[in-house]
Symmetry: C2
Subunit: 396 residues, 2 copies
């Protein structure tokens, strides 16, 4: 049996640690680095090598995986004076960017290796991941990958080890982050409108738990609504996924809109909402905690005990309006996202198929996105009906 | 009489040319550079020196003025390989950044001189200007300046030559661009709401010229409304100030919000509107042309001849609602802008005093901004009344 290659792993946070430990279990030799000594101890205790710098971790590595928070950290990991991985990486090593970054960033990394650091031998792929910490540890993540075909082929064994579902996105280096960007655009809008809908429901004194259940399985459903509202209902702000991630990711979305002169009214409004949450110091807590923006006086969906006694049938109209609010925003988000995806040069049917199985999906997306691509705008409500619904919501 | 110093002037566009020619008239020796040969010819014909690169223009210059479109161009002008001004600037020269840039950028320029180019002798001031092409040519601009006191003192003669009104903003290098940012935030929102209000009026068949006049001198007034709506009324998209400038400047505003985790709902909505205008290919035309976003079918306020026959008194309610729309948005903009200004560390009373005499002013700003600083929110409408007004506008 051939020995599996050496992997340098930078960024041993909740996701990164699970991925690194899984690679160890799968027979790769992993040399890790993180700014947290505790994380390094954990890696060492499981048989990995705890490096003292990205440079040291990169020695003898055929691959280096970057799973740090953002592009600035990646630049630092790879190129920091004397400590950067570039000063340790063997000839022909492959850099695997797993963090979610702006689509132009992986090309910029490649350029820096080639031009500024005279390392044209280094190859780069961008492989944004999703699935959360449990699937990271199981090696069952969803991974989007892009880069040159040859490099992707050489990277496949390690990507397959970490993933259950591995997509190869056409369009060259950066294309995978274009798809991830569209997913984050939708996911970020969906969390925001879930928070708004649940905040409104609590303010009205509705039974929020029952409202939550009433949405599941209907046309008002989104993956994010189903996943995040339970945290809201439990006042559980454990950072399963921190609000700061969406501050960053919606920033990537709106910056891309700005660069491309492409208007994104919904994404930018959701971004402002996350910024408001960050300003209220919720940034390091779970992103579902943004619901407290809508509940400044009693920031909880559970504490409102009077609501649990309400007769559901009495409030059927309110339930219906909140369902409609979700559906309206999901529909608009689907159109905004598909339009941006096409503007980014993505292949629409592939994009829709990936999103339909990802965290950015909603029932409205499944219905509207394929129609929007065809220019078919016949389904659903008219704009006048939608306006009436939104005005009714204002006066609830 | 002492000879006036040599000035390198980079960026001979509509504003820059006027400034450079005025400096020539005032006795400075001006060595200019621009990518347009025509602009260089014009400068030479008036007694200036037409340089073949920023480097050449910088030779023997005590000052170099950057009046190019954006930060990227400034970096290129100053630091481009072999052609950049840094390779020509004499010892102790002062870089005067007149372009509107992100507040952190002037410090970044100073750092590049010091660290990357080993020129710690070079000094930098940031001096965003306003007033338009006519005042540029007359030397009667408004200039905001910031930097170290010593450098500002050494720069004063040249700034005084170009300006009628010269402010020295406390807070060190970059502070002047913080004030300019707040002015642009307000100005950008005011143009956007002027366009929305006039687009709505045209759609309703109101007499748009009469509506315009009815706003002047009232509490619905803004400097931008008075200045830009005449272009809309005349379908005159001559780029007195191109829409692309606000795509850039609102980008600076919202990026600053993102960097500081400070929500800016109005600024970001206005930004999306400018992006929509850019997408519709209005970017190189006057910013007032953004009104066409609201008039997709008959993109003109004047061509709507039927409206001129309308009886004004018959539409008193509609007039009133549109006045209220302007006032509501101006009020919210004033609060958003003052809040951001304070977050940026600006001194509120100085900021309010400058804006009150600048293009970012509105009647609402004059009333609300000083109250907002004091936490006095007693004036004007309640939120419920405001909501009712906005809903009425939806159903006009």
């Amino acid at each position: 049996m051939a020995t599996k290659p050496n992997v340098a792993f930078i960024g041993l946070g909740a996701m990164g640690m699970g991925m690194a430990l899984h690679l160890l279990e799968d027979g790769f030799r992993v040399s890790g680095f993180d700014v947290s000594p505790k994380a390094l101890e954990m890696l060492a205790s499981k048989g990995g090598f705890a490096a003292s710098s990205p440079q040291e971790s990169a020695r003898d590595a055929s691959y280096i995986i970057c799973m740090v928070a953002n592009a600035e950290q990646i630049k630092n990991v790879l190129f920091a004076e004397s400590r950067g991985a570039v000063f340790g990486l063997p000839h022909d090593a492959i850099v695997i960017i797993c963090s979610t970054v702006a689509p132009a960033f992986p090309q910029e990394v490649l350029r820096l290796f080639k031009e500024d650091f005279q390392r044209p031998d280094i190859r780069v792929v961008d492989c944004p991941v999703s699935g959360g910490t449990v699937r990271a540890a199981q090696g069952t993540l969803t991974i989007l990958s892009s880069g040159s075909s040859a490099t992707l082929k050489d990277t496949k064994p390690i990507l397959e080890s970490m993933s259950e579902c591995l997509y190869e996105i056409k369009g060259g280096l950066g294309a995978a982050n274009k798809v991830k960007l569209i997913n984050q655009q939708l996911a970020g809008i969906h969390i925001a409108i879930s928070a708004e809908a649940m905040g409104l429901a609590a303010t009205l004194g509705l039974n929020t738990k029952h409202l939550y259940e009433s949405v599941l399985g209907t046309s008002a459903h989104s993956w994010m609504f189903e996943n995040r509202v339970p945290h809201m209902l439990a006042d559980d702000w454990t950072p399963y996924s921190a609000l700061g991630i969406f501050v960053k990711d919606m920033g990537i979305v709106t910056s891309e809109g700005l660069n491309r002169k492409f208007p994104l009214f919904l994404a930018s409004t959701a971004e402002q909402l996350y910024l408001l949450g960050a300003q209220m110091e919720y940034e390091r807590e779970d992103d579902s905690g943004v619901v407290r923006v809508f509940l400044p006086k009693s920031p909880s969906l559970v504490s409102d005990s009077k609501s649990t006694q309400m007769d559901v049938s009495q409030f059927a109209g309110a339930y219906k309006l909140i369902h409609q609010l979700l559906e309206i925003v999901h529909t608009a988000a689907a159109i905004e996202a598909v339009a941006l995806g096409i503007n980014l040069g993505l292949q629409a049917s592939e994009l829709i198929s990936i999103i339909s199985n990802a965290a950015g999906v909603s029932e409205s997306f499944k219905v509207v996105a394929p129609k929007a691509v065809l220019g078919d705008f016949t389904s659903g409500c008219t704009i006048a009906q939608t306006r009436d619904t939104l005005v009714s919501l204002l006066y609830m």
